[in-house]
Structure formats: C-alpha cells, structure tokens
Symmetry: C2
Subunit: 151 residues, 2 copies
Amino acid sequence: MPHAPHSPPLAFSNIEDVAVELRRRGGRFSGPRRAVLEALFAAKGPVPADEIASGLGGKLPVLELSSVYRSLEYLEEMGAVRHVHLGHGPGLYVLTGGTEREYLVCERCHEVTEVEAHQLDPLRREIRERFGHEARFSHFPIVGLCANCRS
Amino acid sequence: MPHAPHSPPLAFSNIEDVAVELRRRGGRFSGPRRAVLEALFAAKGPVPADEIASGLGGKLPVLELSSVYRSLEYLEEMGAVRHVHLGHGPGLYVLTGGTEREYLVCERCHEVTEVEAHQLDPLRREIRERFGHEARFSHFPIVGLCANCRS
DNA sequence: TTTTTTGCAAAACCTTTGCAGTTGG
DNA sequence: CCAACTGCAAAGGTTTTGCAAAAAA
C-alpha cells in the first residue's frame, strides 16, 4: 500500500515492539510506561493524559499523573507517540505508526473526523507549490464547518 | 473551542466603529475596552493578552490582566476580535476585518508566515469537495516545514 | 440612579519540576 | 549495584471567577 508520509514511520504494532526499541535506547520498560502503552493501545482515539492516569475508566492500573506525562514525553521522543490539540482542552495522545491519522474538527458541533494522512496529500502538494511549506496536519486539526453544520 | 463569527465579517476600520457597534449592543465603551482596542490596532500581528495588559511595552495604559481577558472575550463575541493558537504558548489576539490573515508555522524554526485568507481558497475547495467540510484556517495554523528547513 | 464593568484576590486547569526513595537490568 | 524511573508535593503558566467598589449611560 503506497503511502509515503514524510518521516520513516516507526510502526510499532504491539507493546513488545516498543519495549524492545525502548531498551535499545537505554531506557527501562517500567510498570507505568507499560501501563501508558496499554492505555494507548486500548484507546480508540486520541486520549488526554488524565484519562490514561485514571486507567481509561477503571480497567487499567491507576497512575500518577506526572508519571503519565513523563512517560508520554519519553515515548514521544522515541517516536512511538504523538499528541494533538483538537480544541481548548488538554493535549490528546495517540500512538504513531500503523495508518497515520489527521483530524478535521467542526467549530460548531465539535465533531471530529479522522482521515488517513495520505488523503491530505493533494493539499500538501498544493501548499508546497504555493508556499514552499511542507505541511503536516499532525499537530492541529483543520477547523471549519462540517457538512451538516454548513446547511 | 474554535468560534469564528459565521455572520458577515464586520470590518471595523477604527476604534470608533467598534465603539458604535458595542453601544448598539448595549455594551459600555469603558477605559479598558478602549485600551485593549488601541493595543490591537497598534500591534503589527497577533498578540498575547499579557502584552496587551502591560501596554504593549510601555506606550499604552497598563491594565489588569483579568480585565483584558474579559474585554477580549466581549470583543470576540461581537466579532471584532479573534484569537489564534500558533503553538504551545498563550492564545494570540488579532482584530478581525480588513484583510483576513491565516498562518503557516514551521515546526523546526518556528517561523510564522502570514498569508491572506483568500490564498487558501483552493485548499478550501479541495477540502470541501473531498470531505464536505468548509475549512477556516483561522484558529490553528498550518504546521509543517518551511522552505528553508526542508533543505 | 441603575446596570454594567472593573480591580483584586483567589481558584481552576493543564503541565512541569525537585527530590528522596524505589526499581529495572 | 547503580543509573533510570517513580510518587509525591509543590510550583509554573494561562485563563476564569466571585465579589465589592467604581464608572458608564
């Protein structure tokens, strides 16, 4: 499947893959780091740190919020995780790898539409040609009116 | 949450125009509101609330930060002001009206490029056709690598 | 005078940090 | 064992809020 995003997509398809890379870098695969990864693998979309800390509503271990932030920071540095800001709330964390997703948010009903990154490639080309800027829509969403709210 | 005024872009070209509309809505044209507007008219780009509060570096009156936030909120509700988030710092406020501007930010060198809104119309069309979403790029920037950092 | 708005202080919210103790390798 | 990591507590940065006093109309 030919989609060539920008950076080499370290696709970690399971927790053990992350553990291996983490140890390769001299890191330790601690309880909290494992639990954060479990939460992220279990989550269906981007999640805030405090939801991870509270064990995604009860099924996973409860963690110290500051440790969650530190784990997320570490995992982000190693490229296993990224975060997005879809509005005014807290940052939301997702696993990288697999099919990269980007976000459209409706400013009226706040509906969030996930799209696969390569679906925005024509836009990226347009922007590159026009402004020389290589757009990633990976940190902030495209905000506007969804089809419903337009009418 | 991103709120852009959906109604016709009221273009206020000077402070008195805002004052008139403000009073028409039953509001009062107080000292702080005037000072906030002066700061925004004086600023060359989007500015954070605390810079407005401190009189843009000395030439304008010093205001209470909470009053600045309240004034900005009011002016935003009446469509004279909007705010953007160009990164992880505080929100940045700008006047609406006149030539609307949108922003491209380089994720490496943090350079901010202002573009006139209509320059993004082809992108908007593309997005509308593809996702039915009427994009405004007015609240978050388009983040990516600028021409320089790409090479 | 009446209602809105301000100033101040305090809190709320999200995130980071210092440090002593614990733990993974 | 020892560096890396965690828990806890505290602080940092941004924005909001409650309330009595001040000011606009």
